[in-house]
Subunit: 330 residues, 2 copies
Amino acid sequence: MKKLINEPDQVLSDALRGVAAAHPSLAVNSVERYVARAGGPTPGKVALVSGGGSGHEPLHGGFVGYGMLDAACPGEVFTSPVPDQILAATKAVSSGGGVLHIVKNYTGDVLNFQMAADLAGDAGIEVQTVVVNDDVAVEDSTWTAGRRGTGATVFVEKIAGALAERGADLSSVAAVAREVNERSRSFGVALTACTVPANGKPGFELADDEIELGVGIHGEPGRTRSKLVSAKQIAEISLDAITSDLPLSGDVAVMVNGMGGTPLIELYIVYAAVADYLKARGVTIARSLVGNYITSLEMAGCMVTVGKLTPQLTNLWDAPVETPALRWGR
Amino acid sequence: MKKLINEPDQVLSDALRGVAAAHPSLAVNSVERYVARAGGPTPGKVALVSGGGSGHEPLHGGFVGYGMLDAACPGEVFTSPVPDQILAATKAVSSGGGVLHIVKNYTGDVLNFQMAADLAGDAGIEVQTVVVNDDVAVEDSTWTAGRRGTGATVFVEKIAGALAERGADLSSVAAVAREVNERSRSFGVALTACTVPANGKPGFELADDEIELGVGIHGEPGRTRSKLVSAKQIAEISLDAITSDLPLSGDVAVMVNGMGGTPLIELYIVYAAVADYLKARGVTIARSLVGNYITSLEMAGCMVTVGKLTPQLTNLWDAPVETPALRWGR
């Protein structure tokens, strides 16, 4: 295992020290293990809290800031955050408007966020939860009942965060978060596996000429293995899977996301193929992201996420955002 | 070779199609092969043109936009852009204020930019050139006489771009670009090699427990090979090399840059060690970047760049910028 780390069991704590040092806009609580906005809670605003295993950076800590999350709870690498951690973050950002938990659909995450929400409720904090489950590749998986939550998480956090910033109430923010999830689908492809530092060896094996179609963001098995194919074919396979599940028309947002070990030049090559595919079917890419937004450590590969827009969703997408990983328009 | 590409000889053209599709703020000229701002030249403003081999994305095309570059010329992967290409970009963005060429110190780049500058001069366009040569690892290298140009390029483009946006004249913009270069140093480390698509195999070999200290951004040999060491030790080796060349004090800007295949969580671990090192020596990190800004395809590893700030340079760093890869404050 070749990694830029100190000790495998210090990966999260060392990384959080780095995040704290690099971003004065963030308040990192290294004891309770959450990342919040440095300015403290915004009075009366619905607070958005997300989290999950580490190793998917910039998700979620990189999306904490104006227009997106109020706090993020990083678990150990590929491991759910614990209920106490989520509860501490929830309490820290709660300011009377209620708290929305944004949870990717992995069994551990769902259970731990649920327990934290119950405890927060006992403490008088109103919590609603949206579970993101956009990955069309498989039903049920290594760590999931139902579909996995992947790229749509970024869309949900951006759009719900924008609505919360405008002063909407908890039910409205939760409703738009669910709407974005329901209108979004993802499909991922791995060219290589990745290695969890504590394990020291790759989570799975792929031959030199093999790729995994429909891979999960922890390397969970996908639909099938295939020989390496072209970027154009990978775009087609991904979009065939997405559009056969959710017919597309009108305006969409597209993310071509790198899994961590794939260079940007390759993501643009995939994006060109995605744009061709959608254009040929009369679908308009109204907004897009190309880059590393939800990763799987050093895995090589990409994920395509498509979200159907409405005028309101586009307007919220365009709203100002100021986080380490996503910022525009303020 | 496992890559998200179509054909090796279409990598650049396919990627440029993707860039054009993803970024309405950019005008991609796929015939002449340059990327410029979509709005056309800014009348009277000094225009900044950079470029170099592809494979270092987001450098340089990702830095085209308000507050940074006016145009970028991408060569084939790890290959200099040609003079005609640079000349076309120079003419396209020239609007009477003169043009600054920002060139990383590689022999091919320097020659081709020089030829383009001469041709532009013949056409009545005033061009000045700054050659970036911040890499302290080695004197002379595979493709370079003198020191290689690496991470400081990002600082030069940001700060000179800001001054140009404020209406400074060509000599002033060139002077600040040279000042930033002279005050900046970089040192890079590779954990793995990378593969140029047209070659189909890695540019060099590293054993499973080996790293290359002082590597160049095309995989050029560095100072020495070593067994894998900790992130803390890598930060120390990098900063020892930098500070023995340029003593540091006061405020600095730091970039911990990923070489393309290293996950963000590892870069934050390195950044924490860099922050510790500098704090212990009384040096203040006033500004920082952590992420992939100048890459080497899918190489795993990192580069540390440090630039000594002045109040003016900090002010220009903070000026609004709006490019695909760097944006804040507008």
